[in-house]
Amino acid sequence: MIKIVKRDQPSRAIFFLTPILAIFLTLVAGGLIFYIIGFKPFEALKFFFIVPIADMYGFSELLLKATPLCLIAIGLSFCFKSNNWNIGAEGQLTFGAIVSGGVALIFYEQEGFYILPIVILAGAIGGMLYASIPAILKTYFNTNEILVSLMLVYVSKLILDYLVVGPWSNPEGFNFPETRQFSDSARLPILFDGLRIHAGIFLALAAVVASWFIFYKTYLGFQMKVSGFSLKTAKYAGYKGKKMIILVFLISGACAGLAGVGEITGPIGQLHREVSPDYGFTAIIVAFLGRLHPIGIIFASLIVAITYLGAETAQIFMQIPKYTGQVFQGMILFFLLASDYLLFFKIKFTGLKK
């Protein structure tokens, strides 16, 4: 017989093992889906997860996609740890890209060492401004942050669309929905010739280190943890709840904004319609898969980034629709949440009894 017993305390070993279990289950289920839609499961999985990163270029592409995911997920972990459901990182990314793009356009055809820092800062500020809307509405008007931050995603994409089609569109661009190319001084340098990986990766790594420090070495990190466990306890301890809500939203907005900067000032070097292939939403999965832990998020961002690359390769080589990437992302989160059951419950095999 199988007996299910509640654990006295969540198991710590399982806390870090379940993400691996979730990835394994996702691969199994993914293979099954490939089989159902008429592909050889192992071959499809190979094209999805191994072929894309088999060479140097592929590996650089992996880092390129993992960078924004990691950055945003680090920011989101501040929100999620303290029980704030910011699910509009995609909007904060877009708005950050808009603001930094706008600043970069001001410096059109100008050179100078000071331009790039200003452009980067502008992106972070843009993201913060946009994240402050749900934060302020939540703290002072009691408004649900989930819905507000999500609605703002749609609004930001429409603002971007308006700008690149209308006032900011390239006057010599034959009406393509894109702006002028930014000057070289406004662009994040490419790290290796022939590859697309750019200096934005250092922003992500800096965010990882900073977040680790804040989470585990500062009073603020402790406050966040307590508020995440129990809002009542936090209140009882006299923490300034409103200030903290706004702060975590600002941090998370800044990270998303920086991810936006990386997307437009890196290899592309201009604002265009599709700044991000839903990095802001996917990063939610990355944050959970990484267990809201900075190191975990690094690994999670690399794994989830493969789903982007895999979807592209599988589409080219096997005509598997590229949305399979999203299916995999959804499944990872499903299986991760499901395997959390093992955190709180033990499954005991007790042998047959009458």
Partner: protein
Amino acid sequence: MIIDIHFIGLIITSIMASAVPLILASCGELITERSGVLNLGVEGMMIIGAISGFAFMTVTGSLFIAVIGAMLAGVLISTIFAFLTQTLITNHVATGLALTIFGIGISAMIGKNFVGIPGKEFPVLFESLKDTIPFLSPILFGHSIVFYFAFALPFFTNYFLKKTKIGLIVRAVGDSPESASNQGINVKLVRYSCILYGGAMCGLAGAYLSMIYTPQWIENMTGGRGWIALALVVFSTWNPIKILIGAMIFGGLTIIQFHMQAMGVRVPVQFLTALPYIVTIIVLVVISRDSRKIRLSTPSSLGKSFYKDN
């Protein structure tokens, strides 16, 4: 400008038509939330309903099978959510998000083979009466059965919650699962049923979009309607009748946007398209400002997991 009364009737009709998917999805979600479960997967369930309805229609040729199939697809996908949140006690918000991401992905995957296929004409009721009364008849007659069902649904839902015993049980489970459980009510069963019902209604809402409102399959064709439906539930303060009002306002915003573009109003298209989302935020702020009222009307256990040791 002479305002033609018949023309106004037509505008109201088109507003009602665009309100239908919102009413269906919101009323479904309202029941789910009244039982204490917050399912953020509305968008995902709607898009699954949209592709399933369209696919069943194309493959079987039967509209009836297609509508039922879409609802069953909604039920099927919400079963994943129900199993995770109720049996494996996962976080409602995260699970709902996963459902939406998964739903959008799966729908695009299935939908690949259905892009560009023309839809079928959906039969309408009382078509012969359409020209009898100048202002009223286009509003009242000549619509699909789903249309009539949607406008009756808030009243049924209201009656169900307030006057029937099962409705009372649903509310009890949502307000205090502990006491309900002590009274011998199977909380898990009630919540499972409410989630599955919500799934069916979202599936139907999706099918309305892909089969009746714009009869074709377009990727991501729900375009955020699921999220607006979720906002409508808050807007209504969990009262089905108010969903009707809210859905008409949002339907109105969508339609006005088309008419303003047609009349050549010099406002950027993107601003008009953004209007429903901006208004949603404003409305949420106005409604939620009164925190006492929100607390009184929100199902007390909304979004909280319930676990009973046996």
